[in-house]
Amino acid sequence: MPKVMVVTSGKGGVGKTTSTASLGAALAQSGQSVVLVDFDVGLRNLDLVMGAERRVVFDLVNVVQGDAKLPQALIRDKRIDTLTLLPASQTRDKDALTEEGVKNVIEELKEKFDWIICDSPAGIEKGAQLAMRFADMAVIVTNPEVSSVRDSDRIIGMLDSKTLRAENGDTFEKHLLLTRYNAARAARGEMMNVQDVLEILAIPLLGIVPESNDVLTASNVGCPVTLNTPDSMAAKAYSDAARRLRGEKLEIVEPMERKGFMSRLFGRKAATA
């Protein structure tokens, strides 16, 4: 049974696209067939994060409007053959998408893939609503920071009212993915901790991705972090989250930065040098 999953947040810059790429790659690495659909029409970036920016010929808008067939727009990943990308258009605006058109594309993708992962644009407007409209489940990407948590709360409200499943009274799974988490700062009370955010948003936790240079490096080189540095803590967090999405029961541990004696003495610079 194929799953349609939206990765959303309300707020921009919290890690939706990075998380879409990393979760998708991790699921594909475990043998699932996965397609990543970029819904951020006009501001596409999933192609860049996936390292496929020079391979885009046709896009989601072309398919929705009937200017291209779906297989013409799909880009197969060169590193994992079960991973595919459907890019967004860079030159059109979000009004180029219609509900009927998006529905047809998702129905067609369901025949070919186990996972259809929709990368939502920021905001609560039409683009974000279309990205979530036909989803079976959602990953809400949140930073432990007030504006991100508030916007996530708003998006959770929309998922409960504006998705097709919610309108039909069906169950809709929601998972919280806490990103850019700094365990040391949370321990010192400088940043909201996992319990704080969970208490406020009241949805199940999918994983905690630590703030990490490996994530930036991965997007710099256009390779999901689970492929680029599979042994990094961020990659492990995403891989574990992907296993939980497949139903595995894995304990969630707070990512604690292990600092050596020297880096304790000399602070961050020594640790990153």
Binding site: R150, R154, G157, E190, D196, E199, I200
Partner: protein, 87 residues
């Protein structure tokens, strides 16, 4: 003072959590109602405007939901119309 602030300087996370809890409790109680108020406002205005002239900026629609009773308060300022006044 400086010694005191050294020990207490960084515990801002509980403040963030408490502010969010208060704010979101308020915002959640409003969700779904904002549309209703807008619709009520427009329809009530349309009916009143048929009979008297009103200033659309001087209309206040307020919905208060209590445990037992909810009240809808509509305040409309009517523009003086000397012509149609009986005296």
């Amino acid at each position: 003072m400086s010694l005191f602030s050294f020990f207490t300087r960084s515990r801002s996370a509980p403040v963030a959590r408490d502010r969010l809890q208060i704010l979101l409790a308020h915002e959640r109680s409003l969700s779904g109602q904002s549309d209703l108020i807008a619709v009520l406002r427009e329809e009530i205005l349309a009916v009143i405007a048929k009979h008297v002239s009103i200033d659309r900026d001087k209309v206040n629609v307020k919905l208060e939901c209590g445990d037992q009773v909810s009240t809808l308060e509509v305040n409309v300022e009517v523009i003086d119309q000397p012509k149609s006044a009986p005296n």
